[in-house]
């Protein structure tokens, strides 16, 4: 209970201050904006309620993109990490490429992906996967490599093959690292999905944010952002829950 008390108090205070500042136009004056561009929390809540079916529809689209992208990133990230653990040559060859893949601006790749994969869910999922792949692969590889050499020696004298050492010792050692990487990936997945939608989409929260922005519907814009944040929090929470269920030895 105590853990929730302070953040809740802080959030309430911030929202309260925002409400007062927005409804008295003080915030708009401060920012030098027209008052209708600066929604108050009450207006955002109203937008959230009135556009609930639209928001839910778009959130579902974005959530699907995120989940599909995360699933691809998970398979590819874990696969790459295992391959790089088993072969030093692969690791040396691929690690710089892995880092480079993160340095390439999505802005450069996104239009190509749209041309290549069309306007559906796939180009967005691909962008999510591209962004989320790195933290998963890097953390799983670090986890696999963090195994105690003494444990490996012990297993070798107990007749373990390389694959058995990987499966019985290295993989469980890497599980907590995997969850750390997954949490990072899940937290950035919404941004990636929204970005994918900005390049070309006819639905999804990112698409809606663009439209609301163009129509100066700022209250609903903020509402969409809140839904997106809620999605991220829910996914990170689920990841933490899964971690507690799986990693029972810590």
């Amino acid at each position: 209970m105590k853990r929730w008390l302070l953040p809740t108090l802080l959030l309430t205070a911030l929202i309260g201050a925002w409400q007062v500042a927005a409804s008295t136009d003080a915030l708009a004056d401060l920012l030098g904006l027209a008052p209708f561009l600066v929604p108050s929390p009450a207006e955002i809540a109203e937008a959230l309620w009135e556009s609930r079916s639209l928001l839910a529809e778009n959130a579902w689209v974005t959530l699907q993109e995120m989940l599909l992208g995360l699933a691809c990133a998970l398979v590819a990230g874990v696969g790459f990490a295992v391959a790089m653990r088993l072969s030093e040559a692969l690791r040396l060859a691929f690690y710089p490429l892995l880092v480079a893949s993160q340095a390439v601006p999505i802005l450069v790749i996104a239009p190509i992906l749209v041309v290549w994969l069309g306007f559906g869910i796939w180009p967005k999922a691909a962008i999510v996967a591209l962004v989320c792949f790195f933290p998963i692969a890097v953390s799983v590889l670090a986890g696999l490599r963090s195994v105690d050499p003494e444990a490996t020696k012990m297993m070798r004298t107990l007749d373990a093959s390389r694959r058995q050492i990987l499966w019985r010792v290295e993989a469980p050692t890497a599980v907590p690292h995997f969850f750390t990487g997954l949490r990072l990936a899940v937290a950035i997945a919404p941004i990636a999905a929204v970005f994918g939608e900005w390049v070309g989409a006819d639905s999804g929260l990112g698409h809606q944010i663009l439209q609301d922005n163009a129509q100066l519907a700022t209250a609903r814009l903020f509402a969409a952002a809140i839904v997106l944040a809620a999605l991220a929090i829910a996914l990170v929470g689920l990841t933490a829950l899964a971690e507690r269920r799986v990693v029972t030895w810590r």
Binding site: L86, S87, E150, K153, R156, D159, R162, I165, R168
Partner: protein
């Protein structure tokens, strides 16, 4: 022969362990070390070492810290190939053959924290392809015999230091190999627990005799547990003196280590240790 031909080339360059019949030891093997030399980088760590141990003998290795005791143990276990000379466990000469005949107990217990005690002890059986139930049954018999009954489902974190070492030793025993290589198994325990564990290990070896090479920095431990004790010099390790113990592994440790004969041998061992570390 269990040979996994589909194994990918691996980073650590493991030799696949050669085959070993699952279950009982079936045969005993002695240890014979002839003209052994080893280098680490440009450093000579072991020089012209000769040691003989008959089947079911227990050999203690003591020496100043950093003298290459642990390296010697890894060479015996087949985890490394020596630079010069040879080590034979019975007829097993190559490192892969030695690996198949020797189980290694590292300094720290290295119990896998995600496995129950029984599953930790049964690791070697699982590695040989035995199903979980059969492996647990087989390891479970040893839990009964060695006073660990009831601790089968406990996770390592729930066990005391002494209990963890017992499980780690059982894991080595369950592997069913003729030779056991123990690397300072009780170094991390407090004095009272260590004495208890020595008595326990003595009992275990009386009940289930194996050829044992035991590295320790504790002269008393070596003399209590071993038939013979090799005192090594500081690096490069050479044999300073080999001592033969009159009555090893007595049931009553406290009495055994205070007997005049034991005290005399201990005195000699300590003198040899002194000579070797200069």
């Amino acid at each position: 022969m269990r040979q996994d031909t589909k194994m990918p080339a691996n980073a650590s360059g493991f030799a696949e362990p050669a085959a070993m019949p699952a279950g009982d030891v079936g045969f005993a093997a002695g240890v014979s070390i002839r003209g052994l030399g080893h280098r680490y980088g440009g450093l000579q760590t072991i020089e012209r070492l000769d040691l003989e141990l008959p089947p079911h003998g227990v050999l203690g290795i003591v020496g100043p810290s950093g003298c290459g005791k642990s390296t010697l143990l890894e060479l015996v276990a087949g985890l490394q190939e020596p630079a010069a000379g040879e080590i034979a466990l019975g007829s097993a000469l190559t490192s892969a053959e030695r690996l198949a005949r020797c189980a290694f107990m590292p300094q720290r217990d290295m119990l896998l924290p995600w496995l129950a005690a029984i599953d930790n002890a049964a690791l070697a059986l699982r590695n040989r392809g035995l199903g979980r139930g059969a492996a647990r049954r087989q390891a479970g018999e040893l839990f009964e015999r060695f006073g660990l009954a009831g601790f089968e489902p406990a996770r390592p974190a729930e066990l005391s230091g002494g209990m963890r070492q017992r499980v780690a030793f059982l894991r080595t025993l369950v592997a069913g190999k003729p030779v056991l290589a123990l690397d300072e198994p009780f170094a991390a325990l407090d004095a009272i627990t260590r004495a208890e564990m020595q008595e326990w290990l003595a009992g275990a070896l009386r009940a289930d005799p194996r050829t044992v090479v035991l590295v320790t920095h504790d002269v008393e431990e070596a003399l209590y547990l071993c038939d013979r004790v090799a005192v090594l010099s500081a690096r490069p390790a050479r044999l300073v003196e080999e001592l033969f113990v009159p009555t090893p592994r007595a049931a009553d440790r406290d009495r055994a280590v205070t007997e005049p004969q034991f005290v005399a041998v201990r005195e000699r061992a300590l003198l040899a240790l002194h000579r070797g570390s200069q």
